[in-house]
Structures are given as structure tokens and as C-alpha cells.
Symmetry: C2
């Protein structure tokens, strides 16, 4: 069954914001089993809104619309739908009371323009807004079922999950299953090459990729005669994907690589200390984005200058002088000393040249050393990373996360 998404607002057509609503809705609809064939965005113009709605409801069976439900004169979606259907607007008492209650709660006076948000085309089904003032609604337009939601992403998403999914789910073909695998360490083109033939070998399977740099999500979607067969097909294809990508697959679902690593640290009760140079605090930031870092992170010494490497980490200035700050020797000392000074189980260090300046023939931009020290000893790896400064920093921090995970998982059954 085909779906279309219509997003309304001059802020979109002028490029003032990136249209995340279309992508979000399309991803959900695809997961539910629908085929999304078209997105349209129009500015706040009555004729263009009506023309777009007419076209989309003639071509698709379900139309998801966002935007234009606010209290201002720019917000004209509801009126457009009513005039297109040739029905009057009717005020909904329950919606009006909910809007009024919201203003009372915030101790603000409701303006008459907000009352307009309780008006709906006669015959519409109202969709309550769990977290904002603008309710949504659904109506039939010819052969299509059309849903109208607010443009604010959080409100739209909550309304969709709580009130729209249940209305459209019965219309979705119940014949598909999806598994999301999360990878890190391979460029998207190489992931694609490694998975060549998986679709051909598994008719009904579609692979999708989504890059959240530096992670790439591989979506394995299987369509078969029923849900059970789809799940079985999906699991077979996903197993092959796992085999082809090996340890580059670090998880499933929505958990990011830093979340996987920090969860492992917490689960094993291991403590960590970090010494960073070229990443400038990025590894610490990734480790502390999710709550609970105080259980494992004792210290992150961002020793950006050579003097700090000596004074804070106690690395002999002569060693830095002789080897350079970006060297195996200094990286090893950073990891070992930050571990010793903090008393952590694991010490991790990053030193490198993120560029664009600072490179030399012997140590070009992208030269990075990573080290991990534990009771078992110290491991140092060196890398030549491609790309721009931010890429080199991010891949270095992810490389250190990988060392930590490998260390924790070693000797795990």
C-alpha cells in the first residue's frame, strides 16, 4: 500500500530547516510495511497546499501531513482541508478544553487565536496532542486516508506513535520483518561491496544503509508470504550479513558504539582513565554523553601541550623530546601513567596529528597512536587515518573505544 508525506511550511521551502519529519515518518511507515513513494513540501500558500493534497490523495492511499496547525494566520492547513472537502469547520469542545487546561497549567492567558486550533473539518477524527497545543486530525480524501499532524518534531512523533500507528497498522501488509545491525570501522562503499549478492541470494530481502558517522546501520528488511516466514527469511539474511562483516558488527537496534562500550564497562565493574591529545576531549565526551559514567570514568587528562604531558602525566620531557609527542613511546607512557596516577583498571591514550597542519614526511597528518594499559600489560597500535580533522579525531576516539571493548571482552566466554 502506497503512502505519501506532505510537509507544509515556508521555513522548509526556504531551506531554513532540514526536513527531518519526512525522513522520520518514512522510516516508520517503511518499517510498518508501507511503500512510501513521494514526499512533497510546499510553502504556506493556500492554493499550493490544496493542489498538493489533491495530487497526493489521488496517487497514494495514505497521506501523512505535518505543519500549518498553529495559531497564526500563516497556519491554514485545517481551512484548506475543509474548503477542499466542501465542509464547514466545527469547534471540538474536548480539544478546546485541553488547550485551555494547558494554558492554565502554564499560568498563561489563552489568546483567541489558540481557540482556532480546536476547529476541525466536519466529520474529521481528532488526534489529541499529548505534549503541545495543536491537536491533529484525520479525514478521507477520495480514496485516501489523510492524517494531519503538527510540524514540531517532538509533538508530531508522539502523536504518530500514540494515535496514528493504531489507525494505519491494520492497513499494512503483515508480511515483513526487519533487523537493524550496527557497524563501525568500514566505509559505506566497502560495507556495500561485502554484502553484494545477499539480496540476490535471498529473494524478498532488501538491504538499507544509514550512516551516522562513523557508524553505519545496515537494515535487513524481509518481505514474505506472512510474518513468520518473513522473520525466518530475515534472520537467515541477517546471519549472512553478520558473517560477511565479522567483528565490524558491534550490535543491534539503536545502541551506539560508545553506549555499547560504556554498558560493558559498567557490567564488568571496570574503571577507566583516559589520556587524550589530538582528540582534545572527544573520547571523554563520547564516554559521558550517556548517564552513569561516574561508575567507571575516573579521569580524562587532555594533555594537549607537551608541558602538560610531563606535569600531569609525569612523562619525562626528554622522552617527548627524543621521540616526539606523537610516538609509540609517548602514547605507551600516557596510557600507563594515567592508569597509575588514577588507580584505574584500564588506561587508554590517544596521540596523533589531526591536521590540517603539523604533519611531516615521517609523520603525516592522520598519524595516530592508540594505547591501552591494564594489569595484563600495554598494547600500542598505530594508524594512518584519511580525511579531515574532524574525521581523524572521531575515528581515533572510536579506535580507542574498540581497544577498550576488546580488552573487556577478552577471556569472556
Amino acid at each position: 500500500m502506497t503512502c505519501a508525506v506532505l510537509t507544509i511550511g515556508t521555513e522548509i521551502t526556504r531551506g531554513e530547516l532540514v526536513n527531518g519529519n519526512s525522513a522520520w515518518l518514512s522510516e516508520r511507515l517503511t518499517e510498518l510495511g508501507f511503500e512510501v513513494t513521494e514526499h512533497v513540501s510546499v510553502d504556506d500558500d493556500r492554493d499550493r497546499i490544496v493542489e498538493a493534497l489533491r495530487g497526493l490523495s489521488a496517487r497514494a492511499r495514505i497521506v501523512m501531513t505535518t505543519g500549518g496547525l498553529g495559531p497564526t494566520t500563516d497556519d491554514m492547513t485545517t481551512e484548506c482541508v475543509a474548503s477542499m472537502l466542501g465542509v464547514p469547520l466545527e469547534r471540538d469542545g474536548a480539544s478546546l478544553a485541553a488547550i485551555q487546561a494547558r494554558f492554565d497549567r502554564l499560568r498563561r492567558t489563552m489568546s483567541p487565536s489558540n481557540a482556532k486550533q480546536a476547529d476541525f473539518p466536519k466529520g474529521a477524527t481528532v488526534l489529541p496532542n499529548p505534549i503541545g497545543t495543536a491537536p491533529g486530525f484525520s479525514v478521507r480524501i477520495g480514496g485516501a486516508l489523510a492524517f494531519f499532524m503538527p510540524g514540531v518534531p517532538r509533538e508530531m512523533q508522539k502523536m504518530f506513535v500514540e494515535h496514528v500507528v493504531s489507525a494505519v497498522k491494520p492497513l499494512a501488509p503483515d508480511d515483513r520483518h526487519q533487523i537493524k545491525l550496527r557497524t563501525f570501522g568500514l566505509p559505506e562503499s566497502v560495507v556495500g561491496e561485502k554484502l553484494a549478492g545477499v539480496e540476490a541470494d535471498h529473494p524478498g530481502v532488501i538491504l538499507g544503509y544509514r550512516a551516522h558517522f562513523p557508524e553505519i546501520e545496515v537494515k535487513v528488511l524481509a518481505v514474505s508470504r506472512d510474518r513468520v516466514a518473513a522473520r525466518e527469511l530475515c534472520e537467515r539474511a541477517a546471519q549472512l550479513v553478520r558473517e560477511r562483516l565479522g567483528t565490524f558488527v558491534f550490535g543491534e537496534g539503536d545502541e551506539s558504539f560508545p553506549e555499547v562500550v560504556t554498558a560493558a564497562l559498567r557490567a564488568r565493574g571496570k574503571t577507566l582513565a583516559v589520556a587524550e591529545s589530538c582528540t582534545g576531549g572527544l573520547l571523554g565526551h563520547l564516554l559521558t554523553r550517556a548517564p552513569g559514567a561516574s561508575a567507571f570514568l575516573l579521569l580524562d587528562a587532555v594533555t594537549y601541550s607537551n608541558a602538560a604531558k610531563s606535569s600531569i602525566l609525569g612523562i619525562d620531557a626528554a622522552v617527548i623530546e627524543a621521540n616526539g609527542a606523537v610516538s609509540e613511546m609517548v602514547c605507551r607512557a600516557m596510557a600507563e601513567n594515567v592508569r597509575a596516577r588514577s588507580g584505574a583498571d584500564i588506561g587508554v591514550a590517544i596521540t596523533g596529528i589531526a591536521g590540517p597542519t603539523g604533519g611531516s614526511e615521517a609523520k603525516p597528518v592522520g598519524t595516530v597512536f592508540l594505547a591501552l594499559a591494564s594489569a595484563k600489560g600495554t598494547r600500542v597500535v598505530d594508524r594512518r587515518l584519511p580525511g579531515e580533522r574532524h574525521h581523524i579525531q572521531m575515528i581515533s576516539a572510536y579506535g580507542a573505544l574498540r581497544l577498550i571493548l576488546d580488552e573487556i571482552m577478552q577471556g569472556t566466554p
Copy 2:
């Protein structure tokens, strides 16, 4: 003059990527003086591509299209245009040679499917691709001028800047001027409230907002009888915006707040040391994203544990015990001690409760202390920040950046 943007690709309609191309192109076209009225995205389907092109070229004078120019069978944009116009495809020798040269440079063999990328509808104007294999082209479709560019954002952007702008600029009304002001510290709704009436007082001025959390860009666009009048009108309105927003405006153009602060540090030759707790390295990361940080950043001690606050920064454990790690006293000591230990001109510290756990009645989640120590003495501020963990971390780091900028700018003529 009206423009429309068509983006082609099943990865878009399935929601596998957020459609940044439409926003990017629309922002550029709006700046050039065009009115963008419609965006359409369709999947890789011949009929829908043709139908979308037909509709858009009937409704708009300029149509910008991206996607579907690659070498695979999914890529069918060029064929669709040729069949729609009723003209044959013709191979362009110069484009073929450029594609071949690119493969030679990368020492890869060109496959026959890549040769297809040198085919264009007869009569088209070829648009060279400065950084990828797929060239673009432009054709007239009825009364509209249509441009076809690759879907890869970097390639599309470069092609647009180098080959499309010069073709469309003569068609743009030469009657507008834009100034972008960058702000930090106020929520978007408050920025909007403070600027109420600016548009009404300056007919021809349109204000646009774009949030890059935690920064908000205010775009002042003025349209008048000619370019000179537009610039004059724009500058008057921008001046009023600056007055209304005061020091919340930190710059103009595209420079982010961390870039402004680090540029100021470099320009004054001041050195900096940082002590972070709840931000976990985020401030260091913001200071080192742009190159050149080694000129000013000596050290960032992310003392996440109390033990590290004592061992690395030399803060008396009894002081931490008596006041709590999140306290004015400890924050002051962090800033003063990191300055003393590193020998930096300025020491900055952040300690707080980013949540979601760890709050108490006296010190709820969002309680944050910021301190700055310099030769002039130490300043400590406390904040109660709303929002989720990541918001609290980001606003804390920005608050510390603000302290640094205020310190550097003090006594500046």
C-alpha cells in the same frame, strides 16, 4: 521568480537519509533572490520521476533536481528526461574522457556502466563534476529551466557553486540583501518575541531563524527596489535586531561561537587550561574541533571522580567532602589549580549535575557551577539549567566559553 526542488531516490522516500539537499539548495536559492515554493522527492520509479518533472516544470520557472545520475540500473534520471523531451541520448566525448581520467588517477578499471554517465539528452548543456564521476546537465522543459545534479551532497554543492549559480544568477531579481547574525543564550521563542515588530516596522524585511543547538542564526533578508536600497534597508533592520538582542549576538556570517572564542584566544596570544567534570571533555572537544588549538590550550583535566580532583588538581579531599564536588568552593579551586598547575593565563572550570540521576533537593539536576581564574582574580557563577543531560552539558560548555570571551574582551577598546 519561482523555483522548485526535485530530489530522486528510494533512500529518501524510505527515510534512510534526511533530505539535506533540498534545504541546502533552497537556502542558496532564497539568498540569490528566488522564491522556492515546492520540494518533491520520488523513489527510483520511471513514471513518478517523469510525472514529478512534468508537474514541477509547469508550475515553476527553475527546477533543481538531484539524484539518479549514477552508474547503476536504479539511476534513470537522464533517460527519463530524454524520453520526456522526445530526444535521443548522445554521448559527450569530453565527459567520457574526464570519467576515464578519474578512474586512471585512482588506478581502477572503468566499467561499461560508468560510460553511461557520459550520456545526455540531445541539446543539453553539460555541467562538469569537479570531484566525482557523474556530470550534471541542464535542459529547457517547456517554460522552465531544469538542472540535474548528483545526489552526493559534496558533489552537488560544488557543481551548484561552480556551474549553476552563474547560469541562474542573471534570472534572479537584483533587489535584495541578507545579513546573518549569530546568537547564543536565548531560546528561539524568546528571540522571536524580542524581535516582534521588526518586520512590521521595516516593510520588505523578512526575518528567518535557524537553530543549530545551542546557537540560533537570525537571517535578516531585505527586498527593495534595487540592491543599494535593499542593503540600506537590511542594515537598518539588522541594527535594530542587534540592539534588541544585545550581547546575545556574538557574531555574523558562518563562524560558530567556539570558533569566535578560539580565534580571540589566538589573536590575543592568551593560553588556557580547563578543568571539567560533568561535561566530560565536551568543552575541550569544542575548543579543539577547529585547528590551531595547540597555540592556546595547555591542558584539559576532566576530573570526573573526586579522587582525580584531588590527585590531579590538588584539591583537598576535605574541601570536596565538606562542600560537595558540585559547589562554588570546589569549582573555584578547580579553575585556580588548573591554571596554577599548567601555567596558563586563564583557568576555566565546570562542575555540575547533568543528570538524569545524582540530583538532590538542595542541588537538583541542572545545578552547574562555572569558574574563571586569571591574574585579575577568580569569578564563579552558578546556574540552574533546564533540559536533558546533553542540553545541560552543551549549555554548560557554552557558558564557560562565554566566560572566556568576556575575560579576553575586558579592557578591549
